[in-house]
Amino acid sequence: MIGYILRRLVQLVPVLLLASVAIWGMVYAVPGGPVGVIVGENASVEQIAAVRAQLGLDRPIHVQYLDWLLRAVQGDFGASIHSRRPVMELIEQRLPASFQLGLAATVVSLAVGVPVAIISAMYPGSWIDRSLSAWNALALGVPTFWLGILLILFFAVQLRWLPAISTHVPFWENPFGALRNLALPAVTLGLYVSGIFARFLRASIVSELGSDYVRTARAKGLPERQILLGHVMRNALLPFITIVGLSLANFIGGAVVTEAVFTYPGIARLLINAISQRDYPLIQGCIVVILVVYVFVNLVVDILYAYADPRIEYR
């Protein structure tokens, strides 16, 4: 198992390298640079040149990349051009918030999606199945940004139950405060995915319900509940793990709109700002971290999968 994990980590290297070269190339292809943002609208030509030299941006691209890479391998992602703080420090400030939001959103989407899936799979074609599937369609059809705004207007502005801006409150320090802050963004993010979850899981439960081992279990006289929970769910949840993992990874790195709407201090917003300020080291750092999170979550998913599915052996 440890060997397997190590090998997976080794496999990560080419992906990261490929991505970092691609991103570096892209960042330089993008018009506009970080200097303008630093010097402001009324800067002079000399001022701009001075800042460029100070940041080392006047060197050839490949030199800059290799320099970055050499230090990145040693765990040093350099300092943000814009805020002059170490990139890793900035990311470390954001990553826990992103993880927390990602987990909360996953919990929301599971808490909504799984029961919806089970109930509608138990009565396929019934009115309850149809209304739940309409609910799913709605969850999938309402754009995130739109939902976020409506939630803020209603719960924060009208009712004043929940904060309109969500700050990062570590859960283990202040669970209640964390939940208050996470509620709206997690629902905004999670609702859409709950629709995906519900659909996927419903389809796999329905197809598992039609399989031979279910007939066998019925022939043994097992109660339906036990068949569903003890037999069907175990099989249906297996492929589901992968989907959940993928969406968790995406919640962590890709909650761009939600973080913007709720002013949530996650890594996606850090990256978006870095892109708009052309803060090259910060862009690189964020992307590498998002990739690592993605690969890491997938690794965990695969290990969980192996643990849950006796048919898979890792050698």
Binding site: A137, P143, R199, I243, G254, L271, L291
Partner: protein, 294 residues
Amino acid sequence: MTARLRRLSLALAALLADRGAAISLAFLVVVTLLAAGAGWLPMDAMRQDILKALEPPSAAHWFGTDELGRDILARVILGARTSLQTAAGAVAIAAVVGIPMGLVAGYFGGWRDTVLMRFVDVLLALPGILFAMAIIAVLGRSQMAALIAVGITGVPNFARITRAQVLSLRSRDFVTAVEAFGASSGYAMARTILPNAWSPIMVQAIVLASLAILLEAALAFLGIGVPPPTPSWGEMLRTGKNYLHEAPHYAVLPGIALTLTILSFDTLGRAMSRVLEDRHGQAMPAGDRQEEGR
């Protein structure tokens, strides 16, 4: 040929037997016709009348007016054109790039598979919306850029679904059969495997169309979509959001249009996959990237 037509009409009939699919299709047809014929409509999406800005719905302006006094209904209709064009273009790009990738990766396997799928991995690992933003930053903000950006984020969907189809089809006897007759790998891929993989790919295309509309709107909402004054639903939502209190209709009505269109595509896609499933007895795999526009 007639047999093929018969098949098509049978499939359509089966599709329309589903009430949701029929309504969705009707809605999309109406939206498409309106969008195509927007030029002949009496309202002008571009005419400003600043003194009549942000008026609520009235007989003269059924959907009210926007911050520049333009007719929102006209802009919603023209926005449909933007959305549909972007979606169609994006799906076309995704298909043109993704399907051959999936075919080659699945059919040949080996290093080609490894290389192509690593590439897809990278595309998948980066949240699509970030990727789209980067592409738009490079290309500059335009409808073409939005279309390409949305299209490229859809490439993994097509590549993976095609590859999965190829993997499941290529060991089937009828593929072995054409190989046994001495057909080239190109023939086997393009003439034998692909026609059999069409159904899930079509379903995927429709699902992707709804995702593309959503992503395009999200990009517009972030202020990097199709540039104004070209109306786009996302852009209207973004602007309308600023006037939520004074003129709630401004953001609500385009939002409804957006949601209904996404719902219709989604309903249609699912009905289609159900019909095809019934006819071919094969399950339609779910899309990879369904988390666009977060």
